[in-house]
Symmetry: C2
């Protein structure tokens, strides 16, 4: 199966992966047996957990890892800039692209200082317009080798998609020929960083809103590009959202899609004359004049001062979606116009045999407006001796973030569904997760990256990871051990050490032990892609099993990440061996 | 020409665009003559300017705006979740997807609480696995209409790509049938918001770094998805960067690509035995043992305590890229190991007839290390009576943002090139631009969106926009006038009013007047896509012409956005007419 995003392939990478590949190949090291760990160093959003996501696309990228002739040609020979324009061009009557031939030379389209487009002479395409191949000058045999490689010799181990993860624990471990394993770095990081960040963000919004609220992702327009939007919709669902406004994501992933109307819709109606056909047909087949029904409620309720264009907009929408009437009520004035107009139309719908859905608030004090709305709804129920309005949906949107959700919960509110855009999809509170991809072993020997910053050091060696589970099925800590050593056993006392701080040690007697890594690729896919619903449920289940103090929004307790006694000794030996002793003075 | 991102099309939209379309269509308003403005309300990053970008992709999206049969089928009938898995499945030996038939029922693949994958019974696909069409129940004739529409009846006016823009001034104005113009909203916003934000961010980095520094975009791994990375590379270049590490972006857009080595490369070498062939061939054809040459410099300089694996890595890289040797020097210890190792290899390269490029710093105090490095380089020049090291490139990366650039400039540093990732590509300082798309006129009448928040009000009516230019070609202010009224003229005194605050007025006598909007689409493309280099130069030129106090990073002066006297009166009349008078008490 192909990657979901058409850009994913071996060229979606940093150039240095290819220059390093050439270096390895040239030195004859390209088939050295390498182990790389993909991990992050710090949980995002000031929290103490991260949800690992993106694995399915990582596996799809492995399947798509072959260089095409076009790729190779670009690397060797470069390209001519904006070639499609040079070749294709516009229809007659317009100029034929951004560069055209003129009197044996070339002209380029550009803007003068007044911002007016104009043609000006440029040097011919062979000069100005071509860029050299990024790998020009490399041995031709290298390109033959590059053209032939794929991922059949790699083994990839990973946590299942949706696993709650912690700093320094490898999310993915890649084993295989140095060169090919190295070349996965940028692609893997790109495919894991944002999905994991977004899923974590969505899970945090879910924790803040509570399990009884609806959460709909509304962020496509503010997302970081088309794919940023598609990914956001997908992983918001995995993190616990109920649906999205994004139609393409609905189509691609089978997500529930939601949506009603924008302010433009309301503003496009001037008055009741805009309603071309006022007839409504009830489920029993009778036909009535819906506008008259609405106006009768309007006069009975004394709501004649509301905006008539808005009323017309609501009527037209109710006629189009008789069982899906949800009105945006803040175009002119929420309490003076939007809400009364909604009530008149909703009452008429009920009288015609349908059930309205509710309202959406998109500005102002959401807690206050929602409480006022609920009060008015209950009054209407009482006045008309019905029991319908009190339970209508109150939806709220408008720049909602995690803090606002927490504050709303604290204040009390009557909102049933939140529409959340910008802060969710761009992860505004922290728009990047810092996963890294580090060489940890080569030809059976542990490798290390030291650093002037101790936090940037890696934990060397090929490692297995276990989650130790205590009472109530609560995870107690994650333990890394050297691969090949016996795994920790349930019921046995295990010494767990902080990887860096030698004073921090704990004995744990786990009730059960969960191996976190499994083989997801051994030259071909060995991991059945679970459905998004399965992953979503897995996330929800794990969150409910974690100790709440690890998961809270403010000052959460760090979850312990530890290493075995053997691994601790091995790490510190390597550090001592590799790090130079600084001479001062 | 197709959109660059394959996801772009009429389905990359919020569902409410389609439900509104149905409402319009049902009411017979779908062909009302609408005018929509796309604009933002606040400049990003605490600044006072924004660079408009994304226009080319907007125009490409207009060309791609037709619904396919698959789209229509999804909207009407929904879909079966994860269809590819149900149809395709894996190769033999593995289960054939996430759902399989079993004993007349179905099983789904999922994880138990220990994180172990297992099959469990699910209801058949017709129950659990299908989702209903988001537009199920709509009139079948609507879908026929939807299948037939395109953008040939639209007119689109816009500022040229790369124009410096300000709040409330429409970047794009769309005119045409209400329904089709409305349906462009989400797509246009998605295609303008991130490119404009990113280009602005890049331009700010360029202002902070100064024009004499190299800026390379390194952000693919931290970008918000594959397309987030591709867009970031493209628009960073437009905003004034010199190149990218992103190979795919290099291929797609003809961008200069840059890159050398990661820590993994350095860490993968244990010692000089890793060098399979130590021979270097000089330009004159002579062959020598390069390792011996390096070791001779090493002993001459007393650098024997450096990390030998790192030295081997540098030697191998220099042998692979004899004219492109740039070494990452902080894997073990920048000043004690990385820099001395680089110097030995660089001296040997010079002796063999080649020219090394320089070093990259990726951790620690970049200003200090760069100054120390430059000092050592100058010492080497002196010691060997050459004039080469002093001018070598010092590149720096490591979580650089705009403030760090400003601070480095203030401290003084010796860095020539900055590699910038996360903060640039995710726009960490503010990851979303708040462009909106508002109906401003219908059938020749101005329309307005009022709001409980005065900042959310729109400026109604079909408007033309002019930039008034003063002495030294400096823009003085932008002026909106009602379309169809005479444009302001150079040399004439013009009363310019603040759109909201009636006390704020100014007379301006412009030296010249630049109309900012031009027709870019009148049923087909009428705007020649300029090359990225042309747009980039246009951005650079404009920035150099702006008054510096508008452009500075800290407390910049707002640029004036104004309306004509006529437009001011018209706006305020409409506001008075549409806004209800609140009753208090």
């Amino acid at each position: 199966m192909k990657p979901t995003d058409a850009f994913v392939g071996p060229m979606l990478t940093d150039l240095y992966e290819l220059t390093m590949a050439y270096g390895y190949w040239k030195t004859g090291k390209e088939r050295d047996k390498a182990v790389f760990d993909l991990f992050f160093r710090k949980n995002p959003f000031g929290g103490e957990f991260t949800v690992f996501a993106g694995l399915e696309e990582v596996i799809r990228s492995l399947q798509a890892f072959t260089f095409t002739d076009t790729d190779i040609a670009f690397l060797r020979e470069g390209t001519v800039k904006r070639k499609p324009e040079l070749e294709g061009g516009f229809e007659a009557g317009l100029n034929n692209g951004f560069v055209r031939e003129k009197d044996g030379g070339y002209e380029e389209f550009g803007f003068d200082r007044r911002g007016v487009g104009a043609w000006r002479p440029v040097r011919p395409p062979t000069g100005d317009l071509s860029i050299p191949g990024p790998m020009a000058g490399c041995d031709p045999a290298f390109f033959d080798w590059l053209r032939g490689i794929d991922c059949t010799e790699l083994k990839v181990y990973a946590m299942p998609e949706g696993t709650i993860a912690f700093p320094r624990i490898p999310l993915i471990r890649v084993e295989g020929p140095l060169c090919i394993a190295q070349m996965q770095e940028t692609t893997f990081l790109n495919l894991v960083n944002f999905p994991s960040l977004l899923t974590t963000n969505a899970a945090r919004f879910r924790l803040a809103a509570g399990t009884d609220k609806g959460l709909v992702e509304f962020g496509l327009r503010r997302a970081q590009g088309p794919d940023g939007g598609i990914s956001a919709s997908r992983y918001a669902y995995v993190g616990g959202f109920n649906g999205t406004s994004n139609v393409e994501a609905g189509l691609l992933f089978g997500l529930p899609t939601k949506g009603t109307m924008a302010h433009s819709y309301v503003a496009s109606f001037s008055g009741l004359d805009d309603i071309s056909d006022p007839t409504i047909k009830s489920p029993d087949g009778t036909e009535r004049n819906f506008v008259e029904m609405v106006l009768s409620y309007r006069s009975r309720l004394g709501y004649e001062q509301t905006h008539e264009g808005e009323l017309a907009a609501f009527i037209s929408y109710a006629l189009a979606f008789k069982d899906g009437f949800l009105a945006l009520v803040d175009t002119y004035d929420t309490l003076k116009s939007g809400l009364p107009n909604f009530i008149c139309v909703a009452l008429a719908l009920i009288a015609a045999g349908y059930k309205p859905v509710g309202i959406r608030l998109d500005s102002g004090d959401l807690a206050y407006f929602s409480k006022e709305t609920r009060k008015v709804f209950r009054k209407v129920d009482k006045q008309f001796s019905i029991d319908l309005f009190g339970a209508l949906t109150i939806m709220a949107s408008n720049d909602i973030n995690e803090s606002i959700l927490l504050s709303l919960t604290q204040q009390g509110h009557e909102i049933n569904v939140f529409g959340i855009g910008t802060h969710l999809v761009t992860c505004q509170a922290q728009p990047a997760l810092g996963c890294v991809y580090k060489l940890v072993a080569l030809n059976g020997h542990p490798r290390i990256k030291l650093s002037d910053e101790v936090e940037k050091m890696t934990i060397p060696g090929r490692k297995e990871v276990y989650r130790l589970i205590g009472t109530n099925r609560q995870p107690v800590l994650d333990l890394m051990v050297e691969a090949g050593t016996p795994p920790p056993k349930a019921g046995e006392r295990i010494l767990c050490r902080h990887p860096l701080n030698e004073a921090k040690r704990a004995y744990v007697v786990p009730k059960s032990v969960v191996p976190l890594h499994r083989c997801v690729w051994d030259g071909r896919q060995t991991y059945a892609f679970p459905s998004l619903d399965t992953v979503r449920q897995y996330v929800i289940d794990q969150i409910s099993e974690m100790r709440p103090d690890h998961m809270r929004a403010i000052n959460p307790t760090p979850y312990k990440v530890s290493v075995s006694e053997d691994l601790f000794r091995s790490i510190h030996e390597i550090w001592m061996h590799e790090a130079p002793i600084t001479e001062i003075g």
